[in-house]
């Protein structure tokens, strides 16, 4: 295990071979765990007709950081699978909404827990499962449900990925990862569901075994490429959020 290192030289190299039409998931919930640097590299790389998977499309926060809404604005995206096509508060519009409403991009709106579980299922070889979430709502209209022990459940399918872009605090060369606090969010799940997981890492990458076996959050089995984030301004780091003006 020690022999292979998954460290690649930079973000450009890490995303160079991503073909048009790929399905790519982006970790992160608000700023923590968001692969800002990989998003920027993908904007430059230019792959098209992408399907993106993420909690939200971004752009609700100030300062605006690289987000997948920018990939939409850049004409690279066919479809987004996410839990928000519009903001929680109508007073805080997000940039994606107008592209979606204009029909320039497709979207599949999925409840956040179902989105997480569909990726967990893909990684864990579960092709479909039942959930109580969204039963009785517009999202369940015309879809298959089943009553189990007297309660109605909705059938949901696994969501497999070609690529996962995630961010971690620490890694070893085998690709074992640790996340700091809320960095974890979707990131471990996306790694299990993807054919190729690319990780931007906050700290200098350790030799294999630099993380104790009991302390690994994501096994290197699920990780394919590692890039260390350089200091700002070359690398992009979470910034302090500013409140929006009302």
């Amino acid at each position: 295990m020690a022999a292979r290192s998954k460290v690649v030289g930079g973000f450009r190299e890490a995303v160079a071979d991503i073909p048009d039409g790929s399905t790519i998931a982006f970790g992160g919930f608000a700023m923590p765990g968001t692969p800002f640097n990989l998003i920027r590299a993908l904007l430059e790389q230019g792959a098209k007709r992408l399907t993106l998977v993420a909690n939200s499309t971004g752009g609700a926060q100030q300062p605006r950081m690289p987000d997948i809404g920018m990939l939409v604005e850049n004409g690279q995206v066919a479809k987004v699978i996410c839990a928000f096509t519009a903001a929680t508060r109508p007073t805080d519009p997000i940039p994606f909404t107008k592209y979606y409403e204009a029909g320039e991009v497709e979207a599949e709106l999925v409840p956040q827990g179902t989105l997480a579980e569909r990726m967990r299922a893909a990684g864990a070889g579960i092709p479909a499962f039942y959930t109580p979430t969204a039963v009785g709502t517009e999202l369940a209209e015309g879809r298959e449900t089943r009553v189990i022990n007297g309660r109605e459940y909705l059938l949901e399918y696994a969501l497999p990925l070609d690529y996962a872009f995630i961010r971690a605090a620490r890694a070893d060369t085998f690709g074992n990862l640790r996340f700091h606090r809320a960095q974890r969010n979707f990131n471990p799940l996306m790694a299990t569901a993807a054919k190729c997981t690319i990780v931007e890492v906050d700290e200098p990458i350790l030799p294999a075994g630099g993380i104790d076996a009991d302390d690994v959050h994501t096994s290197g089995l699920f990780v394919h490429r590692l890039v260390q984030v350089p200091p700002a301004p070359e690398g992009i780091w979470p910034a302090k959020r500013q409140e929006r003006r009302k």
Binding site: M31, F84, T85, A86, P132, T133, V135, H180
Partner: protein, 224 residues
């Protein structure tokens, strides 16, 4: 916020938070519900859960001490209480769907006397913002809703039936508004507390479903 009569935002949050019981695991939605964690509920022992996998967060971090990788569901930089733990999103929603959340407190556009509520999609909108609301609504042991009693144009948000697309059906246990504290009964709303300075008739006139009232209706006691 429209200078309406009755309680202010923090007082509405207090009204909900005062119902929390010792040992509960509580999930707070974005907006006014977040303010429940500011309420003084004495030594009631609460575990705050956030859908991004934080179990046991505490106050918003003081200026200058923020960990930029530690946020609650609203994106605020929070602190951790002793005994906190972090899990990933599938485990976090496993906690939610598995029935381990004692109460979720959410904002909404509308709530019905049958316990339905709507908070993800405006009328005529394409798509919307669901986030974790449908999972929480369907699976928490209790759903509390906090909302303004009426819209800006004066129509009631407490209705016989929601006319916006619902988030979940038949799940709301309590509703805190600027007018008081209400329980959906299936056929109407039962008022448990009334805001100071309002009459039952005023509240009834502003409510879109039959309103009943508990005996010796208490007036909301304001903190401080």
């Amino acid at each position: 916020m429209s200078g309406s009569k009755g309680l202010n935002r923090q007082q509405m949050a207090d009204l909900a938070a005062e119902q929390f019981q010792n040992g509960w695991v509580v999930n707070l939605g974005v907006g006014i519900p977040t303010m429940c964690s500011n309420t003084d509920i004495g030594d009631t022992d609460i575990v705050y859960h956030s859908e991004n996998g934080i179990i046991g967060y505490g106050q918003v971090a003081a200026e200058g001490t923020e960990d930029l990788n530690l946020v609650n569901a609203g994106g605020q930089n929070v602190t951790l209480k002793p005994g906190a733990a972090v899990v990933h999103h599938a485990d976090s929603f496993g906690i939610i769907r598995g029935g381990h959340i004692d109460v979720t407190v959410m904002g909404a556009y509308q709530v019905s006397c049958g316990g339905d509520f709507a908070n993800w999609k405006l009328k005529g909108q394409k798509g919307g913002g669901i986030g974790g609301a449908m999972d929480l609504a369907a699976c928490a042991k209790r759903v509390f809703i906090i909302l303004e009693h009426t819209t800006r144009d004066g129509s009631s948000r407490l209705m016989a039936a929601c006319d916006l697309p619902v988030t979940a059906r038949g799940v709301v246990k309590l509703v805190a508004t600027n007018f008081g504290l209400f329980e959906p009964t299936g056929t109407g709303f039962l008022m448990h507390q009334i805001a100071p300075g309002l009459t039952v008739d005023q509240v009834r006139a502003a409510t879109g479903a039959p309103l009943s009232v508990v005996d010796n209706l208490p007036v909301v006691r304001l903190a401080g």
